[in-house]
């Protein structure tokens, strides 16, 4: 059986850990050995199945984001995460190489992990990427910007790319690795599991890539039934730092709708004020599998859950807090399955946003959209990804039992 290392280098929250753990548990059920090399380790507490995996801290730039402006392309993010200085990048690549050459994976699964890809490349290791469209750019030269709502200084971006490439090539010789001719080579992999819909790719559509559907975990969390009675069923999953949280809760409380809310860390005062028979406040993540089938609207920040909800034909009201979420929000708006309110929105816009998102036409469009992508159903997606990973492993000479003898586990 093979040794498979999951790398998570950039980004935050729980989505990366949950998604990696989902795929890892499927691979572990096939007898593969798993290592998690993660940026944040606290989140391991939400994936008890990882108890038997080997766990490592992913190398992380100590000056992350310092002096960084609003990024308009992938190279800007790299620049703020250690690629601005060849010495620092040498330290980070060396850190990844110690983990990889020590643990000796047969494959690296990279979730938003450019430096893990670079280190794996320098060691000649098979590697795949796994994540939504934001986490790996289209491999063109120069790499395209992801910002589409404001003019982009392409010359400035090209200069940043040149500098990032120079620092990569400044770091690689230390390890006896060949320099890159183009930065896009850093992202070369045996497969890109782009886990979104083509319509929701942050970069727009891209050449030579397949789409594998959203990867949000639907099989985890507490089972909650929708409150009885009339009114639409609205699921709220936001954080307490949402500036419009109070207006949102007030508008929902004044509405005739049924609400289930998961707002991690919500204070007792707000919880007591909001919760009624028709409005449930969950203190744990909600299991989405059956729950979303009956949901009329998702209110979220526009993370992968909003893409996942579309799989169930659920429209969205989005409060994006950073650019990746904002880009998703804009794509949902283009599809006419979502409405969004930015950080500068005023409280009076909340009722309008809610009513706009609940427009029956949006639900209709979302349902029609979902019907087009039945192969993206979570279990089916995981099954197909595991088949593809094992195909690559076999192609690279790993000894696995024949596919026919393997049951597919969840």
């Amino acid at each position: 059986m093979a040794r498979i290392a999951f790398a998570w280098e950039m980004g935050g929250e729980y989505g990366h850990v949950m998604s990696c753990a989902g795929l890892a548990s499927g691979l572990a059920a096939h007898g593969h050995r798993i290592a998690f090399m993660f940026r944040e380790l606290r989140q391991l507490s939400v994936v008890p199945e990882a108890r038997d995996y080997d766990v490592f801290q992913a190398p992380r730039c100590a000056r992350e984001g310092v002096g960084m402006d609003m990024p308009v392309g992938y190279v800007d993010i790299m620049q703020g995460c250690g690629y601005a200085d060849a010495r620092e990048l040498t330290g980070l690549v060396g850190g990844w190489r110690s983990l990889l050459s020590g643990w000796k994976p047969d494959m690296v699964v990279a979730d938003f992990s450019p430096t893990a890809l670079l280190a794996a490349r320098s060691l000649g290791l098979p590697r795949v990427t796994y994540g939504n469209g934001f986490f790996v750019p289209p491999r063109s030269t120069p790499l395209p910007p992801f910002r589409f709502d404001a003019p982009v200084d392409l010359a400035r971006l090209a200069r940043t790319e040149q500098s990032v490439l120079a620092n990569v090539n400044g770091a690689l010789p230390r390890f006896g690795a060949k320099p890159l001719a183009r930065l896009a080579e850093l992202f070369e992999a045996d497969e890109h599991f782009i886990c979104t819909f083509p319509e929701l790719d942050h970069y727009g559509t891209r050449e030579t890539s397949g789409y594998w559907g959203p990867r949000v975990r639907f099989d985890r969390g507490t089972d909650i039934a929708w409150p009885e009675g009339p009114g639409k069923r609205i699921f709220v999953y936001v954080k307490t730092n949402l500036p419009l949280l109070d207006p949102l809760l007030e508008v929902l409380a004044a509405s005739p709708h049924r609400v289930v809310a998961y707002i991690p860390g919500l204070d007792e005062g707000r919880r007591r004020k909001f919760a009624t028979r028709r409005r449930i406040v969950s203190d744990k993540p909600v299991k989405l599998e059956r729950f979303l089938r009956e949901c009329d609207l998702l209110v979220s920040h526009g993370g992968e859950i909003s893409v996942g909800a579309l799989m169930y034909g659920v429209p969205s009201l989005v409060f994006p807090t950073h650019y990746e979420q904002y880009a998703t929000a804009c794509r949902l708006e283009q599809l006419q399955t979502g409405v969004w309110l930015g950080p500068g929105a005023t409280p009076d816009l909340v009722p309008r946003g809610l009513n706009g998102a609940l427009d029956p036409r949006r639900a209709e469009i979302a349902r029609t959209f979902a019907k087009r992508y039945t192969a993206f159903w979570p279990m089916e997606q995981r099954r197909r990804i595991i088949i593809r990973i094992e195909e690559i492993l076999r192609g690279r000479g790993a000894i696995l039992s024949p596919p026919s003898s393997q049951g597919i586990h969840g």
Binding site: L41, Q57, G94
Partner: protein
Amino acid sequence: MARVLFAWELGGDLGHARRIFEVANGLRALGHDTAFAFQDLLATGTLATPVAWYQAPLLAAPKDAQPGAPLSHSVVLLNRGFGDALSVAGATRAWFGIFHLWKPDILVVDYAPGALIAARAAGLRHAAIGSGFSTPPPQDPMPTLRSWMPAEPAALQRADAALLAGVRGGVERAGATRGVPLQASDVFRVEANLLCTWPEIDPFGPRDGADYIGPQDDPSNGKPMAWRGSSRPRLFAYLKARDPRFASLLESIARLPGESIVVALGLPPAQAAARSTSTMQLVAEPAALEPLLAEADLCLCHSGPGTVAHALAAGVPLALLPQQFEQYLVARKVVDAGAGVMLEPDVPSPDFAGWLAAAAVNGTLRQAASTSPLRGRRKRSAAERLAAMIAA
């Protein structure tokens, strides 16, 4: 020969990494193998030797960190996430991961409490090197760091209890059955405590149960520089260019009578050259301290224990501008001994020129510095101490 893993988790800048490299070089010269687990991998990026290095496991920063001077070392660790069992559990598992991959025979920490917690749970031998602040005396309750304020025993105990709960919970979640702390002091206990400082400037000194071996860096290393003329007083300054006071400090130094040499770490080298004057040599890289201090009248610095120790060993009085808490505690020691003056960080728009000019000709300061017990004191080698420990 033994495999020695060095760990550094807390404390900024590169002082910890430099000290570790110094000791590691010594151990390699004695035939041992070394690897590094650092919170900041920038320093490892310049290593020419073929050694392994790892990212030290990181804890999630707590939302309720207590601002200001920490009450005790338990608060220092709580502010870094050690009160959160889930965070400690994740980090402990990741330390186990490094131990499993590299298979060290001994762990040497330079301010790495998470590594120590994991080493005890893994039954790995360990020793600490550091400047004193990072290895507080293990007591219950953990001693106050604000000796100048009224005692707050209840608050000390509350902090200890919160730390113990986080660390215990974390270690247990990580599956450890041994090395689980029973009281807060157990979190800080080390098998061997090699203090790379002297009792007179150790924030917790003098104390028992520790081995004072002195700063490990060699003050004759660095860019060779020399005093140009014979005019006095001579000011040697060792500063960080990113200090908000740096610009006005530099202006004041340039106006001082006599001669000055200023090392400004982090200053672009071109700027250093451009701003030098006939009486002020300004450089951006570390200079060899020993020959300069031997003929200096005043040493201006941020009160890093290494620079302070070298200045007092040379009998040079100090003008101190601490930037952070450890430096502040060292500065208080020096001021209490009469060998230096300190400007507290929150003094608004101080008169640097007046302060420096007065300190440079202050006979009482000079007298105290020239008779300092640190005068001429020589370090003992941490590498040799560790090698002896390994062989024992």
